[in-house]
Symmetry: C2
Subunit: 126 residues, 2 copies
DNA sequence: ATAAACGTTGACACCGACGTCAAGGTCAAG
DNA sequence: CTTGACCTTGACGTCGGTGTCAACGTTTAT
């Protein structure tokens, strides 16, 4: 299939697909006229990339997953490098959550000093 | 005082101070030679800005606070517009926290499928 | 033959809060 | 007079994942 069809099936823009290729995430065969030609495996790669981006991964984070799929594994996350990324991302997310919780508390405290009773309940607080 | 001294006392760069002025956050008098001249009140403004930026506010978010201080209020947060920003930021932070918690759960779930027992405890989980 | 719908590469725009040069003016001390 | 520490404005670079436009080639249908 050509880039337009892959884009439609994957739910991404052609711009995104070209960008992924530029970043070395996917590699397309070229037909005689220079058009990119993709297979079903590529759709799987793009789907994996999108899935990871949607949970806050960068393209760089997604690289090992794509490599894992291209290596023939059924899941992009089943390779050691992917697992390492999973764990790193978990700690990063945890750090961000902690930062946000701290900030929320600080902002809520400030708001309380000028407007007691204005603060809504925090997530998980009853 | 001139820009260098204000920068030192406020713990910011001169570049930041000029940027704040460019964005209309602070206004400096000019001496005969064109140098910016600041007073103690300006230090207070900059301190307020920094304090807000450090908890994730944008300069735009900080604007009402600065206006409030310039209007003579002892606290930048004591004006109605500032309170509104406080509340909006709280909901924004809450949204971000919820998003991150969801993401963490998704990533942890994926990791578990390829590496059971690899997932560390979530914040607040014992 | 031509229009419509596809494809190609290249390159600028975006967002926010600055960092970092460039090229110059000002001022106090030695 | 000169050095050096200060100041000025202006403008490009950063970071990521695209959107969007330009200018052009290809293919298919009519």
């Amino acid at each position: 299939m050509r880039i337009g069809e892959l884009a439609r099936r994957a739910g991404v823009s052609t711009r995104a697909l070209r960008y992924y290729e530029q970043q070395g995430m996917i590699v397309a065969r070229r037909t005689a006229n220079g058009y990119r030609e993709y297979g079903e495996a590529d759709l799987k790669l793009v789907t994996e990339i999108r899935s990871l981006l949607s949970v806050g991964f960068t393209l760089e984070d997604a690289r090992p997953f794509v490599a894992c799929l291209r290596a023939g594994h059924e899941s992009g996350g089943s390779c050691p490098e992917s697992v390492a990324v999973y764990q790193r991302k978990l700690t990063e997310i945890d750090d961000e959550i902690r930062t946000l919780l701290t900030r929320r508390a600080e902002v809520a405290a400030q708001l309380t000093t000028v407007c007691p009773g204005c603060v809504l309940r925090k997530i998980g607080e009853s």
